[in-house]
């Protein structure tokens, strides 16, 4: 989506944001059913996570296989502070962001010196460590059976405890996150990030401090995950380590890949499809791991740029074929 700015692009962008807001509002009005609203809420939470991971992975080219850990840190920070210590949920959310940001910084400094598989392994290791801590630190986390009694968020005396109210909160947040992420991608920092992905050497030769940039984006995407984690804890009112394990990190990566690397809108798509699928197909449940693996393989082979980009590519290819003659003669040598 990076590319031409200009007046037309801004107008189109505004239209798209308005369209998203309208669709979300409409869907909610049509779907009075609480089950579907809850499903949409989880899609929203996953979207926040996937957009963050996509900034890091799709745009920046830095693989994280431990993203569920940051989601978990946010969720448990909110859960423990509110359920055990009675802290105001909004303050707990902010505390979660701070803790998560510091954790990402401390992990990022050594890990981001690594490249490719090594970075993937380091983040994978971090994810596993957090998962073990959540299980073993029973006095605080409640261990494998989880932490219950997490209060709902409230806004000006209004308790956000029904799917409909949560829906408004979550999707307003998703909307804001999508907007600032699209802004980011098309900003000075976003360009440097995309540049780093294509050629780190060239980016450095132009004065981009790539080490610092990687760390910044790593922390930034961890903050998205923490925010999603806090929302998750207050939506379910219960958290357990099983939601934050390795498998969930892989699911997030699958969502990024399915939706499309380096695509903000693809993130929404990837999160939506892979959150709904297991719910809609009952069979899916027993073979979840296999099906996710299968999707990952099929997309990588046939739609390497993801669902959204893949379809756009097909469309653009047809357009080029139509205008092929003109396209050819406008070459350099004439």
């Amino acid at each position: 989506m990076g590319g031409a700015l200009g007046e037309g692009f801004i107008r189109r962008l505004l239209n798209r944001w308005a369209l998203l807001a309208a669709t979300v509002a409409l869907v909610a009005v049509v779907l009075e059913n609480n089950y579907y609203l809850s499903l949409l809420n989880f899609i929203g939470i996953h979207t926040i996570l996937v957009v963050g991971l996509n900034l890091l992975m799709g745009y920046g080219g830095q693989i994280s296989l431990g993203h569920a850990a940051f989601f978990g840190i946010g969720a448990y920070a909110s859960g423990i502070l509110t359920a055990t210590y009675g802290v105001n949920p909004w303050l707990a959310l902010i505390a979660g962001l701070i803790v998560c940001g510091i954790a990402a910084f401390l992990i990022g400094v050594p890990a981001l010196k690594l490249h490719g598989y090594y970075l993937a392994m380091a983040t994978l290791g971090f994810g596993i460590i957090v998962y073990i801590v959540l299980n073993e630190a029973q006095p605080w986390t409640g261990g494998p059976s989880g932490l219950s009694g997490i209060p709902s968020l409230s806004l000006g005396g209004l308790k956000l405890d029904t799917p409909w109210r949560l829906y408004l909160l979550i999707w307003l947040t998703v909307w804001a996150i999508l907007l600032i992420s699209a802004n980011l991608v098309d900003s000075r920092t976003g360009r440097a990030l995309r540049a780093l992905h294509d050629s780190e050497a060239a980016a450095r030769s132009l004065g981009v401090d790539t080490a610092r940039l990687k760390l910044q984006v790593f922390v930034w995407s961890a903050l998205y995950a923490s925010l999603a984690g806090s929302l998750y804890a207050h939506t379910l009112n219960f958290v357990a380590p099983a939601s934050f394990g390795f498998m969930f990190s892989i699911k997030l990566v699958t969502m990024v890949v399915l939706g499309g690397m380096a695509s903000i809108w693809g993130s929404l798509m990837g999160a939506a499809v892979l959150t709904m699928l297991p719910e809609l197909l009952a069979v899916f449940h027993d073979y979840e791991t296999i099906v996710f693996g299968g999707i990952l393989m099929v997309v990588m082979i046939f739609l390497p740029r993801g669902l959204v980009r893949g379809i756009l590519d097909l469309w653009e290819f047809r357009k080029y074929k139509r205008e092929g003659v003109r396209f050819q003669v406008s070459g350099f040598r004439d």
Binding site: N183, S187, A192, A201, R204, G207, W220, F332
Partner: protein, 254 residues
Amino acid sequence: MILDLQEVSLAFGGVQALNNVSLSVPEGAVKAIIGPNGAGKTTLFNLVSGFLQPQEGRIIFKGEEIQGQPAHLLAAQGIGRTFQLVQLFDHMTVLENVMVGCHRRGHAGLLSGALRLPWTFSEEKAIRQWAWEALEFVGLTDRAHQFAAVLPLGLKRLLEIARALAAQPTILLLDEPASGLDAMETERLRDMILSLKDMGITILLVEHDMSLTMEVAEEIAVLNYGRLIADGPPRAVQKNPEVIAAYLGTDWQA
């Protein structure tokens, strides 16, 4: 002298890539470095631009020692470069590629960019304008909104120059800019190097195309197996027997 290498050495394992090389580049000049493959030319570029550190010796740029400083800081101080194998940002448009070149001329951070704070608008506009001017200089404005990956090689090399130029270098290192170009494109490149010089930019050039090198360079340094075997005006270098034996071949003078 804008750039001064003093007794610089670097070995990779047992291979002496550069052996006690001293070399200076006068301000505003076009200086070429020639030599057979593996002579250490690209290594020298990587040392000057901060991608490698010398094991011995000093590199002095604008009167200050710069060896040991990372590439992005040297870029900020005015050392620009292109790459032997073109390194473009393939998934970005031609204009965006050059806008990355303006990175150091802007200030917007991650947060102000994400929130699109009002003051970032004027900065974005300025960056866009600077990038456009650099594209005008190399004549690529008609390709501004295409992805860099789809350009033919000749235009890719021009785009790399535009991108480096957008960073406002005082010295520009061009690593084999003519390789892969046809005669017409090479001519265009020659004109461009001369107008860069007219703009006051010092050029350090690694090039195998001898006629281009002889035409644009005021000084030529010759490397062979990591050693500097000649350094001076083209005429003198051309007649140096060691150069003829090592690199140019005996029939070259004809």
